[in-house]
């Protein structure tokens, strides 16, 4: 392949930014490059494309032609492809943009908390989204859920320039704070916690949240003093086969949304003949309403590192990739710190704990794309391609990252593994219900007194959880609950006695999804919420397959007609057409995004959120 480059030069800042990616490219990725021998040099390096784009975006605030050239030259990637990748992500700009950008969340929970008023003010003072401020230094954009719903409304700041601070978030955000930060003020540290069960009288039963608020998340010694790395030591004693046997016996099911048995995945990868193998931690958490993984990574980052190491040991993978949502700057910083300390202490590297096995972790930041949480899109994203899901089969256990056998697990799933190793699979299976073992994190937000992350044993009812969060705010009446996120289902208050288990939610035609429980009181404008969900799926569709690429557009258009009484020829006929769209998306789309894009919408429509569309 001859590389034809753009006739544009990178600035010194841009060149330095790109160079930094190569210099800092860690031991893990260098070692891994060797492991992937057989790939030609260009392909072996392409996985640095996303880090390089991040570096340039951070240094100068956008990806210029010169900068793209520099990246393409060093990575031997054709410019058209690199542009295709850069333009895929919401956090990269391929046109010149002001250095300070506020991404203001206007998604569901933030809407309930007044985000629309914040956006309206910004529209008045700065202009429509994307307009530069008078001094050219700042701009703002609307954002999908930033994973801070328990403290809504939220905003993320992307701050460019080598002198500027790292990206940061604020929640709850006020219009004054947003404007001050856009004017150059520093971002204040968060004042409120996210886990009501760890403040005041501490809930004694906490397992996954056990160290939150107890052990300093920036200190390895604090983590070890709180029992950290006991699990890895125990795993090494047990040996890989026994670790997998315990995970299987625990009947742990994935917490990323698909509820797949974790033991089966690990076993399949351990049994393949192929090497290298990979462990990938899915920390892309972008399902609207979800913030559980963020809290775990911010408050207990070493647990993520340790549990990935256990997985690597169990399936004989020497390389782990940790793909963190781009909008999670604090989690990213804490994990980077944890990885660094663990490397320095021999808990990651060529000879982990001196026990003769190698494992290291490469952290990768996403760049604003919900779809990259889908496992195969995530692989493509790491590999430096557009985050488009792959057709399955083959499944990741066979052909995953770099086409090799891969264990991919959610942050919360992995966190459970530590307890499973320490107490045994059978004991773990004793918690919860027969078909849903262990405890579960729930992201409770919306119109409740104490929004936050709650840990309960499987089996707690929906009503019980809402009570735990203090019930409906201001003594209001509960109108509906969104279960499982935007890809989930609206359920009516008559289902408050439903046990929050995989089987219990299935029985009422819903699912736990990513553990979202968002409550709406009677004052909520449900039409507006449903339209926001439809817009979300349209924005986040990767665009690869027709049912989802065009189906999500038609779905949103249809709902807008219903919302302004422009139904044609009647609301009932529109509901039928909506069902037809839902069926093709569910049946013929490539991935879960398209399969679920109509779930919440359909449930709301059949509940009669729009007049004349009620269904039995």
């Amino acid at each position: 392949m001859d590389l034809k480059l753009l006739p544009a030069e990178a600035s010194p800042e841009e060149r330095a930014a790109v160079a930094s990616v190569f210099d800092s490219s860690s031991e893990a990725s260098n070692a891994d490059r060797v492991a992937r021998e057989g790939l030609n040099e260009a392909k072996a390096r392409r996985h640095l494309l996303l880090p390089a784009l991040h570096a340039v975006q951070k240094a100068v605030g956008w990806i210029s032609q010169g900068a793209l050239n520099e990246i393409c030259c060093r990575l031997i990637v054709p410019p058209a492809e690199a542009y295709g990748v850069a333009s895929f992500y919401a956090m990269f700009s391929t046109v010149a943009r002001a250095p300070r950008v506020a991404h203001v969340c206007d998604d569901i929970a933030c809407k309930l908390a007044g985000a629309d008023a914040i956006c309206a003010t910004l529209e008045r003072t700065i202009g429509p989204p994307g307009t530069s401020s008078a001094d050219g230094q700042a701009t703002w954009l609307r954002s999908p859920c930033l994973g801070l719903c328990e403290r809504s409304p939220a905003a993320l700041f992307q701050l460019a320039g080598s002198e500027s601070a790292d990206d940061d978030t604020i929640a709850p955000a006020t219009i004054d704070e947003i404007e001050q930060i856009l004017n150059g003020a520093t971002v204040p540290a968060p004042a409120v916690g996210s886990t009501p069960q760890t403040s005041g009288t501490r809930e004694p039963e906490l397992r996954l949240l056990r160290r939150v608020g107890v052990a300093d998340p920036t200190s390895l010694s604090a983590y070890r003093a709180a029992g950290g790395y006991d699990a890895l030591a125990r795993a090494v004693q047990m040996g890989p086969a026994q670790v997998i046997a315990e995970v299987s016996a625990s009947e742990l099911q994935g917490r990323g949304g698909a509820a797949f048995p974790t033991g089966r995945k690990w076993d399949a990868v351990a049994k393949t003949a192929e090497t290298p193998r990979y462990v990938v931690c899915n920390a892309d958490e972008s399902e609207p309403g979800t913030f559980k993984d963020r809290v775990l990574m911010e408050e207990d980052p070493f647990a993520t590192v340790e549990s990935m190491t256990v997985a690597g040991f169990a399936v004989s993978a020497a390389h782990g990739y940790l793909y963190v949502r781009g909008e999670y700057p604090l989690a990213t910083a804490r994990l980077e710190g944890a990885i660094r300390q663990c490397r320095a202490d021999g808990l990651l590297g060529a000879d982990v704990m001196g026990k003769g096995f190698a494992f290291d972790i490469e952290l990768r930041r996403g760049a604003g794309a919900y779809i990259c949480g889908e496992e195969t899109a995530l692989f493509n994203s790491i590999e430096g391609f557009r985050g488009e899901p792959r057709n399955k089969p083959p499944f990741p256990v066979e052909k995953g990252l770099f086409g090799k056998p891969t264990v991919i697990n959610n942050v919360e799933t992995l966190a459970n593994v530590l307890d499973i190793v320490l107490e045994g699979g059978a004991a773990f299976a004793g918690v919860g219900t027969e078909q849903s073992t262990g405890s579960k994190l729930f992201c409770v937000s919306g119109s409740v007194e104490r929004p936050g992350l709650y840990e309960v044993a499987f089996g707690t009812t929906l009503g019980g959880l809402i009570d735990l969060a203090g019930g409906v705010r201001d003594g209001g009446g509960l109108a509906t609950v969104l279960l499982g996120g935007a890809a989930g289902t609206f359920v009516s208050p008559e289902h408050l006695d439903t046990p929050l288990t995989f089987e219990g939610t299935r029985a009422i035609g819903a699912s736990l999804g990513s553990g979202v429980v968002m409550a709406f009181d009677e004052s909520a404008d449900m039409r507006d919420i449903v339209l926001r969900i439809a817009a979300f799926f349209r924005d986040e569709s990767c665009g690869q397959c027709v049912p989802c690429r065009v189906g999500t557009v038609r779905q949103e258009e249809l709902l807008r007609r219903l919302a302004r009484d422009g139904a044609r020829p009647s609301p009932a006929a529109e509901a039928d057409l909506l069902d037809e769209l839902a069926r093709v998306m569910r049946d013929a789309s490539i991935c879960g995004l398209g399969h679920t894009a109509a779930n919440a919408v359909q449930s709301a429509v059949s509940m009669g959120v729009f007049e004349g569309t009620e269904r039995e």
Binding site: S87, R386, S541, C545, G551, H595
Partner: protein, 302 residues
């Protein structure tokens, strides 16, 4: 050989065959848009889906490897519904007027009705779609159906790009990339409904890596990519396939031996294609064979 049951009848296909191969073995007319024998399947259009016993969703026949004992339905209500909707979603957002006769036949067979989604929205301004931001869109009020309509891109005398007709089948990208040309001048940019075929930063083709091999034109199923010569005649209303003859010859430029198909109308070469089944070229050519015929027609007109 593997036994696969297609619509109740057992057919035998070789190991490694796809469900599409099985359907074709039985003689079932299966619609495909993004599939081409000479390209790696991208399985993106989903019009070829079939119902596979035991699978929760429908599966794309073009890329699903047949397994012994597979039982598939190609004309069940679910299959018909998905194929109809895929075609409706495309036909309501893309100009299919130059698509192949096959496509028009499928549109009829599945009773495609685009009116259900409302009248088409106004076309986008020139290059506006190329600047859209991923993750953000302006929603209409739903009175009209969004489309990909936009002005045609005419930047040189070789070929034109009319992305109002683009169904995003990825074929041109594959033909330009590792499936044939290895030039990588074009790729998919943007996301969702705003995804589009683009050069880097939407630069004009003559400023991109494009070498004008025309292989992308050769694979485009909808007429989004056409020879300038063809486009001009169509604009003038004088394009007339009935009056055209096709002559197969060997490219005179080098020793590879590519086969050319010269399409001639009124004694003028109006386009050059290459046979898909040719063992050397598989339908692909280079700039000389594809476009190097203009001089033949310079009959001292200056």
């Amino acid at each position: 050989m593997i036994d696969v049951t297609v619509d109740g009848e057992v057919v035998q296909v070789p190991e490694g065959a796809t469900l599409l191969d099985a359907c074709r073995t039985k003689g079932v007319d299966t619609p495909t848009l993004c599939y081409l024998e000479t390209l790696t399947p991208v399985n993106a259009c989903r019009v070829c889906v079939v119902e596979l016993e035991g699978s929760r969703t429908l599966v794309p026949s073009c890329s699903r490897a047949a397994q012994p004992g597979d039982v598939v339905q190609t004309d069940s209500p679910r299959v018909r519904h998905s194929r109809k909707l895929v075609l409706e979603l495309l036909a309501s957002s893309v100009d299919l007027s130059l698509a192949s006769g096959d496509v028009r036949r499928w549109v009829d067979r599945y009773e495609v009705d685009t009116a259900r989604f409302g009248p088409a929205a106004a076309p986008a301004a020139a290059d506006e779609r190329d600047g859209r931001d991923s993750g953000h869109h302006h929603a209409s009020d739903g009175a009209t159906a969004e489309t990909v309509a936009q002005p045609i891109k005419i930047h040189d005398e070789m070929y034109v790009r009319d992305y109002s007709k683009c169904i995003l089948c990825y074929k041109c990208v594959e033909a330009c990339g590792d499936d044939a040309q290895n030039t990588f001048a074009i790729a998919v940019a943007g996301r969702g409904f705003d995804a589009r075929i683009s050069t880097e930063f939407d630069r004009k083709l003559d400023q991109s890596a494009c070498v004008y091999c025309g292989n992308c034109i050769g694979v485009c199923p909808t007429g989004a990519l056409v020879f300038k010569s063809e486009h001009d005649l169509r604009e003038a209303g004088t394009w007339d396939e009935a009056k055209q003859t096709m002559t197969r010859t060997v490219c005179p430029y080098c020793g590879v031996g590519c086969n050319l198909e010269l399409h001639v109308q009124d004694n003028e070469i109006v386009k050059v294609t290459s046979p898909m089944d040719h063992s050397v070229t598989h339908g692909h050519l280079c700039i000389k064979g594809r476009f190097g015929w203009q001089f033949v027609q310079n009959r001292g007109s200056e």
